[in-house]
Amino acid sequence: MKNQSSFKKRRLSVMGMTIGPMTAWTVLFFVFPLAYIVSLSFCGRDAYGGIVYAFTLKNYQTLAKPVYMQVLGKTLRMSLIVTCFVTLIAYPYAAIAARAGKRVQNALIAGIMVPFWTNALLRIYAIMNITSANGLINTFLLGLGLVKEPLQILYTDFAVMFGMVYTMTPLMVMPLYANLQKIDGSLLEAGRDLGASPAALFLKVIFPLSIPGIVSGVILVYIPSMFSFYIADALGGGKSIIIGNVISNQFSTSKNWPFGAALAVLVMGLSTLLILAKNLLTKKLDY
């Protein structure tokens, strides 16, 4: 009896040592902030931007207003377009990298990873530089006489989406590359052997087997696209507003933390739904 209890004690202390720090970390930096945001979204705000700790549903009533729903709709739409373009660019890139020789493979992966590791803001400023009225593209076009006035590229929805596609592409390439590379070469040979032309082989073997990679990539791209704000800030110049900007504004200039929290909870809810849908789909595709 005594032995058993000392064993239990020892087990507890071992558990404390091993999973303790992780639990503390998670509680401190994940559970607590999340709970805080959720509870904040049910609080009120006084005239000077202070938080009034009293239960209210006002924030959620506000965000149901058409103006916010329109921004949300636009965000979802833009994220969808961005995800589509990212997929179209990333798929061939990943497919070539997956089947290329070792050296080409390393070069292609470095080509996508090195910019990815470079500070994102820095890259966005570079895009601003290139696309602005007296930037690289316009200087070039004006110099050639192709346009009379500088083109308005910067501060448009196009610029925002371009920046997002540029930033998000690595997030799609990596899971797709891992997935495509895993496809056994003998499956491709078997397909050819059974009479599949290269196109039929892609449609009937490679593409179906790469769906899990696409799904992972879509999640990795779509969710950050919904939340992104600095790209829209920098390249949209306040003209192209997506939900990320609105949330970030509530916490900065507008000083309406509870409403910002409610918006964040809404977007988090949407991404949770997406991830649940993804899990369901991958379970069905699990072979």
């Binding site: 003998s186 040979e189 078997a190 050819r192 052997d193 599949a196 009937k204 087997l209 072979y287």
Partner: protein, 365 residues
Amino acid sequence: MDNEKMIELVGLTKTFSQTTAVNNMNLDVYRGEFLTFLGPSGCGKTTTLRMIAGFEEPTAGQIILGGKNCEALPPEKRDVNTVFQNYALFPHLSIRDNIAFGLKLKKLPKPTIRDKVEQAICLVKLEEHVAKKPSQLSGGQKQRVAIARAIVNEPKVLLLDEPLGALDLKLRKEMQLELKHLQKTLGITFIYVTHDQEEALTMSDRIVVMNRGNIEQVGVSEEIYESPRTRFVADFIGETNLIAGVVTIKGAGFTQVESCRKRYSIEGDYPYRTGEALTICVRPENIHFTRNIADVGNYNCMEGIYEESVYVGNMVKHILRNPAGETITINRLTRKGEHFEPGQAVGFCWSPKRAVLVDAQAGPT
């Protein structure tokens, strides 16, 4: 098996940067035959198969399939199908869809596809598993699917690349017989690749023994086993005793060979000249013990020092060393009850009919 040529390999050669995998190979494969490429790993057997399938391009030479040179044809246009070593089943498709894969690509009418697939499924006895995914099947079942998926297309030739390599011994033996029966039922030409000589002997109509990219010998199982033409074949197929010797007399219908300062007569006409070094090869089951070396009629006799015995169930392997230091293995039925002590001098003999002469080298180098 008739005399119509299904495949002709003419001077087929494949070189990978430095090494020659297949060297100037000439071979005819006939309709309805079960032909096996047998050899150790790296002998070029799989490369040859992959060239026939169209996955590797020959460096030189031609592959003539059903009378047509198929040099320019990609794998999907060749009238051959392959059963892969690792099965290569499509993991995202059900067993039925795996089997129907080739027929659907041929755009056959749906009812035809359904009937053919049903037939193939019955043939490999997978009726209960048609709706499952490959990951839900055992190794043996996957193998059957791979076979069904290939034969359902009724190819001119079925190529099998060590298809039973991943199965356990018992299942492998069952599948060997099943495959053999299947081949006889369907009448399709099979080209089978294996490194397992017993498998080759069990299943094949003809065996092509390969070594370092060259054909060592082509023949039916009995020929390959009973009359190996090279030392490599003798050594690779089954167990054998190799005794070095030199030709002393080349007579009509026999050759006399000197070994360990004694002379031995071997029946048969061989192309070896007097004074040429060669190897006498005797199977362990063809050697008897003898008490009196002087009195054994026309049998060839030798004396050796007994080393050990190994009990293998129905047989006992007696291991001796002859005066030249070569290991001699003698397989005797256990019930004969022969017993010797290590270190004892033991006489043994074999019939001149039961030995063959092969070259002195261990294959071309």
